[in-house]
């Protein structure tokens, strides 16, 4: 079966992640949209690795997963601090740096 099916699915997932990132108002859900985009990229990497018959793509996915884990840990710690200081998870209330 053609690899382009996987890549089209990956593009759809990435687009849905972007839409979630732009439209959602809850900071945790925005984080989940970022994870969705990372997953879409992983799928594209694996599909290309399969199409080119090389394993480097899989190694890169491994590193992406590691970085996603580190990012989730630090990001969620920031979310906890924001929730503690502002008593809200709505990104429209987090506007301290806004002009």
């Amino acid at each position: 079966m053609p690899i382009s099916y996987y890549l089209a699915l990956s593009a759809v997932l990435f687009g849905l992640g972007v839409i979630g990132f732009v439209f959602k108002r809850n900071i945790i859900t925005i984080f989940m949209s970022i994870e969705l985009m990372l997953n879409a990229v992983n799928l594209a990497f694996i599909a290309f690795a399969r199409a080119l018959g090389q394993l480097q793509g899989q190694v890169f996915v491994f590193f992406v997963i590691v970085v996603a884990a580190a990012e989730a840990a630090v990001g969620l710690a920031i979310v906890i601090v924001i929730a503690r200081n502002r008593q809200s998870l709505n990104v429209e209330r987090i506007n301290l740096l806004k002009l």
């Binding site: 839409i19 949209s33 899989q58 710690a77 906890i80």
Partner: protein, 173 residues
């Protein structure tokens, strides 16, 4: 239709439905559970692409560890339903159709540009070859990621630790 195509279509449908559900749910916990569904279906797709190791890592690290962290934080902060903010009419009538158009265009163009690519046969023992690659060619980045994770652990601890005097302030209020 080959069996692979049928399995692909089922998994792709689950993945897209889960991703749409992540966006449409108002409760963060429902979004998180939808995202776990997406990740498990993606692990199935990785298996279909014959990358068993990454499929296992996907389930263990993503669905097992990262999403548990998300669910834990949602429960810890007692995050309720998302507040409805009145979306501007510009966003509703121009933004949403344009976003859907972007999705279709992106999927079509990526699919069309790579339609000539076909899957190469996978050699026997691909996981063994992957481990060789990881611990020989990429051993320096691999060790660097361990330092990255150490820094992330320390950063998360420092950020989330309750600052001095904060409980007293709350008691006074």
């Amino acid at each position: 239709m080959t069996p692979q195509l049928v399995i692909f279509l089922i998994l792709a449908a689950i993945t897209v439905a889960g991703a749409v559900s992540v966006i449409l749910q108002r409760e963060p916990i429902h979004s998180a559970i939808s995202l776990i569904t997406v990740m498990i279906a993606l692990a199935g797709l990785f298996l279909l692409l014959e990358s068993e190791f990454i499929a296992a890592v996907q389930i263990i690290v993503y669905a097992g560890a990262i999403m548990v962290l998300f669910v834990f934080v949602i429960m810890l902060l007692n995050a309720g339903a998302e507040e409805r903010t009145n979306m501007s009419s510009m966003a509703r009538y121009v933004g949403v159709p344009l976003a859907i158009f972007l999705l279709i265009e992106l999927a079509y163009q990526v699919g069309a540009a790579t339609s000539s690519m076909t899957a190469q046969p996978v050699a026997e023992g691909a996981t063994r070859a992957l481990s060789m690659l990881l611990f020989q060619d990429f051993v320096f980045p691999f060790e660097l990621t361990s330092i990255l994770i150490l820094i992330a652990i320390l950063g998360a601890l420092v950020l989330a630790q309750r600052s001095e005097g904060a409980p007293a302030q709350r008691a006074q209020q």
